[in-house]
């Protein structure tokens, strides 16, 4: 499935729960803010937002990482552009 994953840098405090759970999708930049990776790689550089193709299992891990964020700084959108997390 195709997802868009976005980090709000104003909300992120660098707690790094997402990086602990899913290091292939999240890493911290020099400002200690989470950036989004595509399966461990960073085409286009260190960005806060990325669209990517993921498997069911990968989606579960990404969702778990987003749910573990203490500031709800991670947003997940489906292919239609609807926000699937956090539930609005």
């Amino acid at each position: 499935m195709k997802l868009k994953i976005k980090v709000d840098p104003d909300l992120c405090i660098g707690a790094a729960s997402c990086v602990t759970i899913d290091p292939a999708t999240f890493q911290l930049n020099d400002e200690n803010i989470a950036v989004v990776l595509d399966h461990g790689s960073e085409p286009g550089g260190r960005v806060y937002e990325r669209e990517m193709e993921v498997s069911e299992d990968e989606y579960e891990t990404i969702l778990l990482a987003a749910q573990s964020c203490p500031t709800l700084a991670i947003f997940i959108y489906d292919e239609a552009g609807d926000q699937v997390f956090p539930e609005a």
Binding site: D10, I13, G14, A15, A16, S17, V19, N32, P70
Partner: protein, 394 residues
């Protein structure tokens, strides 16, 4: 059908309930919490106080979520005692027994408090605390000579300093140690934090404790306009006093039930307590850390959510060891402060320090028998992930 009872409805307890439901569709799950709210993020409270997010965005679970998950959530309730022989807990408010097959204790901690009943004193743990602080701040709006004081030298003190700065209120900060986190940070890191505070005009009183507090002009004077904060270093006038002097854990009722406690509820690395059928997780648990071989206490978000999930898995029969290099990050006036792994100076054989206060970045590495077990970073996050990996793998 298994009856799961979880005492404590914070992030550890709720994460456990969620995990249990994922694996056991039939079980009966009861979550008991002291507060009246649906789960919210305590980490978001400073964002809310500073107006970065509206109040409703603090919530992590919708009200309907508990019903949808068939989790019975007993709010505003406390557990008075546990009968581990007959497997039931006694509810204090309802005054009845609640039987369990599997019990999880996730009661967390309570901020250590000072013995004074003067308006203008603030704590910062719960959503109610945040609402109260906002009320106090609102009353100071337009008061040009308003002053604040912060008692403490840790994470909560940092939050208060950031908040008071946001509202433009000059602040005095006093703490017992020679510098912030003196049990974790050495002099170089400590001096760096102190210089950051002073650069932002915070009046810093180290090695200072609270002696007495009174309302100026006695009780009954108008508003909370003035608190006389008597310290061992002199008198501080403040309209608002933020208290952040650590977390205490109420363990007596747990100990009485025969469950082993020390500084927290003792568990092995599977978060199992000394009594069969009883687990503990989150801030209240003192667990055997397989990564360091020492007993550890959590005290941060990541630890609580991960332990909750681990305990939930174990309770449905998928016995899981808790392995995590814990970490926590905050900032004071934009300067990063990061703790990773076991950062207790008293337990380390050696603490290697890199960088100086003058350079604006100090990293400490904690070694135990030659192994890297923890690290702190002030003013930098360089190597954070590398250090976390090294701690995990050595």
């Amino acid at each position: 059908m298994i009856r799961y009872v979880i005492v404590g409805a914070g992030i550890a307890g709720t994460s456990a309930a969620e995990e249990i439901r994922k694996c056991d569709q039939e079980g009966e799950i009861t979550l008991i919490g002291e507060e009246e709210h649906a789960l919210y993020s305590r980490v978001l409270l400073p964002h809310y106080i500073k107006g970065k997010i509206p109040r409703e965005k603090c919530f992590l679970k919708r009200e309907a979520w508990y019903d949808e998950q068939r989790i019975e959530y007993l709010r505003g309730e406390r557990v008075e005692s546990i009968d581990t022989a007959h497997r039931h807990v006694v509810l204090k408010i309802a005054g009845r027994e609640l039987p369990y097959d599997k019990l999880l204790i996730t009661t967390g901690g309570e901020p250590s408090s000072i013995n004074a009943d003067v308006r203008g004193i603030s704590y910062l743990q719960t959503l109610d605390d945040a609402d109260h602080l906002l009320q106090l701040l609102g009353e100071l709006a337009g008061k040009h000579d308003a002053r604040a004081a912060v008692c403490g030298g840790g994470f909560i003190a940092c939050e208060y300093l950031n908040i008071f700065k946001h509202f433009g209120i000059p602040t005095t900060c006093f703490h017992r140690g020679p510098w912030f986190w003196s049990r974790v940070l050495g002099e170089e890191s400590g001096r760096l934090i102190e210089s950051v505070l002073k650069r932002e005009d915070v009046e810093v009183w180290p090695q200072t404790t609270l002696a007495d507090i009174s309302a100026k002009g006695g009780s009954g004077s108008a508003g909370h306009g003035s608190i006389q904060v008597e310290t061992t270093n002199g008198l501080a006038r403040a309209d608002l006093l933020g208290i952040g002097i650590g977390l205490g854990r109420d363990l007596r009722w747990i100990q009485k039930s025969g469950i082993e406690v020390e500084a927290g509820v003792r568990t092995n690395s599977f978060l199992e307590t000394s009594v069969e059928g009883v687990w503990a997780a989150g801030d209240v648990a003192e667990f055997d850390d397989p990564l360091t071989g020492h007993a550890m206490m959590g005290g941060n978000w990541m630890n609580a959510i991960m332990q909750g999930r681990t305990a939930g898995k174990s309770m449905v029969g998928e016995r899981t060891e808790f392995r995590l290099v814990t970490s926590y990050a905050t900032n004071i006036f934009g300067t990063e402060i990061i703790f990773i792994g076991d950062t207790r100076r008293a337990l380390a054989d050696e603490v290697r320090v890199e960088g100086t206060a003058g350079e604006g970045a100090v990293t400490q590495r904690f070694y135990d028998s030659g192994r890297l077990v923890g690290a702190t970073m002030v003013g930098t996050n360089k190597d954070r992930m590398k250090l976390a990996k090294e701690i995990e793998n050595t």
